[in-house]
C-alpha cells in the first residue's frame, strides 16, 4: 500500500515538475508568428487562412446573393453604381469595402484585389512583388499561391498573392463588356486577377 502511495506521489510530483518545466520554458509572450525559441504560425499559413475566409465570403456573396437575386431570380440588379441605381454592390466592391474597413481598423495586415487587366488602372500591380506574383498565379492557372517578402516605405512585409478566379458567369460577362476593361476574352474558371495579402514582419 505504502509502495503504491509512493509511486502515485512520485508520478504526481513528476507530472507537476513536467508541467512546471514546460511553463517556465515557454516565453512569457510568444507572438502569432513565434519567437526565437518557439515556433508560431508561419506567415504562409496565416495568409492562407486569411485568404480562405476572404475567398469563401466573397464566393458566397457572389453565388447566394448576387447571382441568385440578380442573374437567376432577377429581383434586383447588381451595379458598380449601386447607390445611385439602388442595386447590389458588385462582389469585387464588397471585397474592396471589406479591405478598406480592415485598413481603417488595423495595420497588422492589409489586402487588395489587383489584376494584370484591371478595369480601374489604380488596381494594376505597382510593386515588383505584385507584378511577379500576379504573373506567377496567371502562369500557374491559380494552382498555387505566390509568397515573397518585400520592403515598402522602409518596412518589411510578407506578401502573398492568391489567384482570383472567375467563379460565376457574370464575372466574365461584366469584365469582358466593361468599357474600361483591357481584356475582352475572359472565360469561366480563368484567373482574372489576384488577392494580395501583406503582413508586416517584425
Amino acid at each position: 500500500m505504502t509502495k503504491k502511495l509512493t509511486i502515485a506521489a512520485s508520478c504526481t510530483a513528476l507530472a507537476c515538475a513536467g508541467v512546471l518545466a514546460m511553463g517556465l520554458g515557454t516565453p512569457a509572450k510568444a507572438g502569432l508568428f513565434g519567437s526565437d525559441d518557439k515556433k508560431g504560425v508561419s506567415y504562409e499559413t496565416f495568409t492562407d487562412m486569411l485568404h480562405l475566409v476572404m475567398a469563401s465570403d466573397r464566393a458566397i456573396y457572389t453565388k447566394k446573393v448576387v447571382a441568385r437575386l440578380a442573374a437567376k431570380e432577377k429581383v434586383i440588379k447588381a451595379s458598380e453604381h449601386f447607390e445611385d441605381e439602388k442595386a447590389l454592390p458588385l462582389p469585387a466592391q464588397m471585397f474592396r469595402f471589406g479591405s478598406e474597413m480592415v485598413s481603417s481598423k488595423t495595420d497588422k495586415f492589409a489586402y487588395q484585389l489587383l489584376s494584370l487587366w484591371p478595369i480601374n488602372k489604380q488596381n494594376a500591380p505597382r510593386t515588383e512583388t505584385e507584378k511577379k506574383g500576379l504573373a506567377f498565379i496567371a502562369e500557374n492557372k491559380g494552382e498555387k499561391p505566390f509568397y515573397s517578402e518585400e520592403e515598402l516605405g522602409g518596412k518589411n512585409y510578407f506578401t502573398a498573392v492568391y489567384a482570383d478566379v472567375a467563379v460565376a458567369g457574370p464575372c466574365v460577362t461584366c469584365h469582358n463588356a466593361h468599357k474600361d476593361s483591357p481584356r475582352t476574352d475572359f472565360k469561366l474558371g480563368e484567373v482574372m486577377g489576384g488577392v494580395v495579402i501583406r503582413v508586416p514582419m517584425n
Binding site: E80, E83, E100, S104, R126, L152, G153
Partner: protein, 473 residues
Amino acid sequence: MRNKLLWLVWITATLMGGGAVAATMHYGGDFRSVFLIGKTTSGHHQIEMACDACHTDMFGGIDALQKGCVTCHGDELKAANDSHPRSKFIDPRNADRVAVLDARYCVTCHREHQPGITNAMAVTLPTDYCALCHQDIAKNRPSHEGLAFDTCGNSGCHNFHDNRALYEDFLEKRHGEPDFKEVLLVALSNWTPPADQPKPERKALRALDADAPAAHRGALKHTADWAASGHAAAGVNCSGCHQPRKRTRPDEWVAAPAAKECAACHTAEAKTFTEGKHGMRQRDGLWVSRKDDFLGLFEDKGLPPMTPALARLPMKDDVHATALTCNTCHGAHKYDVKFAQVDACESCHADDHTKAFRMSPHNSLVDREASGDLPKGSGVTCATCHMPKHLVRDDYGTEKVFVTHNQNDNLRPNEKMIRTVCADCHGLRFTIDALADPALIKNNFKGKPAHHVESIDWVENRMRERARRQQQQ
C-alpha cells in the same frame, strides 16, 4: 542687495507674465489672438479663437490635428464617397506615393494659417498636385493628352474628394439632357409623407387657444403672429417653446427661447445650422470649458453667435452687429418661411450674386408661382439652392424631409449643387457649364453659360468610339 532685489522682481515678473500668457492660451480670452500664427482661412476664421477645435491635444502632433479635421468633416467625406479616402494611403503598396504626398493627413494639402499659399478650397499645395500620382493619365485617356497639370480640379471636371456628379457613367447617362427639363419643379417642394406612414396627431390651434400665462402674454401681435404660423397649425402652443421643461418645472418661463429649444423639435435643422457658416460658432463641443480648472480667473466663455461684422463676404453696413440665431431669419412668433427664403438673406448679404437675385430668371419663377401662373414648387429662391430639402429614411423606412441649414454643404466646390439642386430642372451639360462660369454666377444666372466644360464631349466621343467598335465586331 539692490541687485538681488532687481533679480527677484525680474524673475517674479517673468514668471507672472509667462503664466498669464500660458493661461490665456489655455483658457481663452481676447488676448488669445496673439497666438495666431497667420491669417486663418475663410472656412475657419470665425472659430479661430476656439483653438482646441483643431488643436485637439497640445502635444498630439499631426494625429491630434487629424482628429480635429475628422470631427467636423468626417461625415461629409463619408457622404461624398471620398475618392481619396485615408484607407487608400494607409495601404503599404502606396508607401511610395505617401512619400511624395502624405494624403493620410488632411493637413498635408490643407494647412491652416498659411494665407500666402492658400488656394481655392483651402488647398495649400501647388495646384498641380494631381500630377504627383496621375501624370501618366493620358496613357489610358487619350483625351487628356497635353492638358496642363493644374487643370484637373479647376476645369469643372474632377474633385479630389467628391465626384458624385462628375464620374464618367453619370455624365454618360445624362449627356443628352436638354438645358431645361420638361417639368420645372423643385424636387421635394411638394413632398408629403407616404400614405402608410404613421402621422403624429395634430390639432391646429387658434389665437384663443394660446396658453401663455397673463404675466407673460406680451404684445397682442405676438399672439396674432403665432396664430398664423406653422407652429399653431401643427398644434404647438406658447408653452411648447417657452416652457421646454413644463413637466418637471411648470413654473419656469423662458422669455427668449434659444437654439436648443428649437432643436428639441427641429433636430436636423439645428444640427446642420451649426455645420455651416451661419452657426458653426455654436457647434456642440467646439469650446472646451475649463472654468473650474482655474477659479474662473481667466475668460472662459464660448464664442458668441456669428455677426455680419465677422464675415469676409460683403455685408450691408447697418447690420454688422446682428447676431445670427434661429430667430434672425425666422423671426420670433411669425416664423414666416417665405421671409426666410429670400428677404432674410438680403437683409445681410450685399455681394453681387445676392444683389442680382431679384432680377434673375429664378426669381421670376418665384413671382409667377406667387401669382398662380405656375404650380407650387416652381419658384427658385436663395434657400432652394443654398438650403435644399433632403429626404431621409431611417432604418425602419420612415421617411422625413428636412431643410438643411448648412448653407455650405453644396457650395464649395459648386459641382456639389448638381445633384442636390440644379438637376431638378436643368440638364447636366447646361449645369456644369453654368457652374463653371463665374460671370454668370455673379449676375445670378441671367443669360446662358459662356464657358463650356469639355468633359461631357469627351464622354460622348468615347460612346461613339465604343459604338463604332461594336458595329465592326
